[in-house]
Structures are given as structure tokens and as C-alpha cells.
Symmetry: C2
Subunit: 206 residues, 2 copies
């Protein structure tokens, strides 16, 4: 166990998906002795979600301090973000200095577009899986998984799956009992099995 | 079905619980034709969560436009909010003009302190249930429930339970198929039964 909290940086962009960010951050945030959270956006200040409500970025991309764990969400804004070369270049550099690179939902397509998943196994949102595949030709996409771990890359399936991945990462970094306690205290029924994925079949992927 | 979206106002206070707010707002926000979301805070601008990350309030309490559905979260900041008479008076007046009054986690204790649950059945976070009971002597507290509906008051259990309640409210207002589609699209395993509550036993309430 580290004596100083691990720093987590959640990368916001205009029209990010609310729960992709705040599901995992809720879970990590229950343990302030273990994790220290920050929001990173195009600029410091408000960044609009897909759903409308705005989060307040603590840092602009350009000024973001290094973190131990990067978290990249999806959302409608992925369509703009994935063709924003300056953003992808920044993301590639930022992730290169972090210990873990994580994504929720279509965030893995952004990682792929930033060449951060070349030769890695990864998963993504099941409803948008075709779009994701198109944007990640050098990734070994796993169509049926709640989340996938390959070396230091942790990618989860759609939206709510990020919560399960965050708890699994907490278990990996510390211990399973602690992660289970976080789930119990937030009254969340944690899916502990990364292979649990009824949504793959629902969206015709298996 | 209404032709204009129902307005939802989420009430922020310093150190609100992240998922209490953004779990339900994710679900409602998937349906922009049905729901329009706003964040209401002590002042317009950033409001810190229990977990650290800040949300950006669209309106100050004093200037908040009327809404159809009020959503009140819990969080560590409940301890200050529950003795803030000006806040509770504002909350009582604001809820009086709305069609539905909803809460997540210890948010129901704030509703109780604002005399909004007198004579109502309600539930709350199971870990903080004793504290909640103390602050709501005129409420019929239900110790084992994922969420409770009594007339136009919808109160949910701790943190993640708000997501299930939001989907149930969507089903009530529109239809169950629509709510199920929201759950499927966000890859969320919806607990459709309001009596499902393993956390009551876990925290010694039954």
C-alpha cells in the first residue's frame, strides 16, 4: 500500500458521458487515503457533458500535472474528439507518463486513435462497437467482456461498466475486501466477473 | 407523453455525493426529448462534491427556475446542510412548486428536515439509517427497500440505488420498455424490484 494517494486524472472533453466519469470517480473517491481525483479539460472551468450538466475542470490539458492513473470517458463528443489531432497528441503524451491507462465506453476508441492500444486487447461500448472497431484497426477488440486488462491498459464496456472496472482496479491495487467494502457502502451490486456481459448478445456481437 | 421535456433540477450543496446526482442524471439525460436537466447550487458556478471533483451549478438557489422534478442527493455535506435553516426553507418552498420530489441516499434526511416527508413513507442510505431516523421523527422510515414511493415523494436507498429509482420513475412517467432501453444502452443491470435490498441486512437493519 502506498503512503501517498494515487493520483487519478479524468480527461473531460465537450459532451463527455456523465456516468463514464462519475461512476468510477465515485468509487475511487470513497477512499480519499488511497486516491486523489482531478478533472482535466480543454480549459480550466466548466465542460459540458453529453447530458447537459457541466463539470468543472481543475486543470487545462496543457497544465495538467502528471497522474498515476488516466481515465478516458466516452460520450457523444467522441466524434469531435477523435478527429482532434492536437487532443490526441496531448492524450498520447499524457498517458505515456502514467502508470495505468483506463477508459470507459467509447473512451477506448480515443485511446486507439491516439495509438495507445496498438497490439493490445481492449473492449468498448457494445452498441457502438462497429464504430469503435473502425477507429482502432490495430487493436485486438474483445466483443464480450465487462472490462479487459492487458498489461497496464484497463478498458471497460459501456457507461455503467466503468464502475465495475474501477472496483476491479481498486482490488488489483489494494485488495478485494477493500473494493467490496466500497461497493457495499455505495450500495452497488458489483459485477466481479470481467466475463459477465449480457450486452454483447443484446447488441448482436456474439 | 408530454410534448415538452420535463424539467429536472438537481440540488447541489458543498460536498454532495457524486453518484447520487450523476447516476440518476445519466439515466434521465439519455432521453433529452423527455427530460431537461439543470444543476442548482448555493451559487452559480463550481460546487465541490464529497469526492473532490466539482460540478458547475447552472443556477443559484435564489434564481432557480421552477422544475417538474426536484432531485436531492446526500453526501458528507449533509451534516452542514441539515442545520442550514435558510437552505432548508428554500428547499421546502422549491419542492412545494414541483410535481415530484425525489432523493437519493441521505438526501431524504434533508427532505425530512425541511418538513417535506411528514407523514410519508420513505427510505434512505442503510449505513446512515440511524442518523437519518434521528433527523426525521415524523417520517415512516422503511428500512428494507431499494426505493419507496408515497404519493409524489420518491426516496431511494444509498448512492447507487438512485439509478434504479430514476429508471423506475422513467417507467412510471412514460413506459417500462423505454426505461429498459435506457438501462440497456448504458449497460446497466437495472434492479426493477423496489423490494430488492441486500444492504438492509448487511447493515443490520433487518
Amino acid at each position: 500500500m502506498s503512503s501517498t494517494p494515487l493520483r487519478i486524472g479524468a480527461v473531460l472533453f465537450e459532451r463527455f458521458e456523465l456516468l463514464d466519469v462519475f461512476g468510477p470517480l465515485e468509487m475511487f473517491g470513497v477512499l480519499p487515503d488511497r486516491f486523489e481525483l482531478s478533472l482535466i479539460g480543454p480549459q480550466m472551468g466548466p465542460v459540458a457533458s453529453s447530458q447537459g450538466p457541466r463539470a468543472h475542470a481543475d486543470y487545462a490539458y496543457a497544465d495538467a500535472p502528471p497522474v498515476d492513473i488516466v481515465l478516458v470517458p466516452g460520450g457523444i463528443g467522441r466524434v469531435q474528439a477523435i478527429v482532434d489531432r492536437a487532443f490526441l497528441d496531448w492524450l498520447a503524451g499524457y498517458c505515456a507518463t502514467s502508470q495505468y491507462v483506463t477508459s470507459v465506453c467509447t473512451g477506448s476508441a480515443l485511446l486507439a486513435a491516439a495509438s495507445l492500444l496498438d497490439g493490445y486487447r481492449a473492449t468498448s461500448n457494445k452498441r457502438a462497437f462497429d464504430w469503435v472497431r473502425e477507429h482502432g484497426p490495430r487493436v485486438e477488440w474483445v466483443p464480450e467482456a465487462r472490462w479487459v486488462v492487458d498489461r497496464n491498459r484497463w478498458t471497460s464496456s459501456g457507461v455503467a461498466a466503468g464502475i465495475d472496472m474501477a472496483l476491479a482496479l481498486t482490488a488489483h491495487l489494494f485488495d478485494t475486501d477493500l473494493a467490496q467494502r466500497v461497493a457495499d457502502n455505495t450500495e452497488y451490486e458489483w459485477h466481479v466477473d470481467p466475463h459477465w456481459d449480457p450486452f454483447a448478445a443484446l447488441h448482436g456481437l456474439v
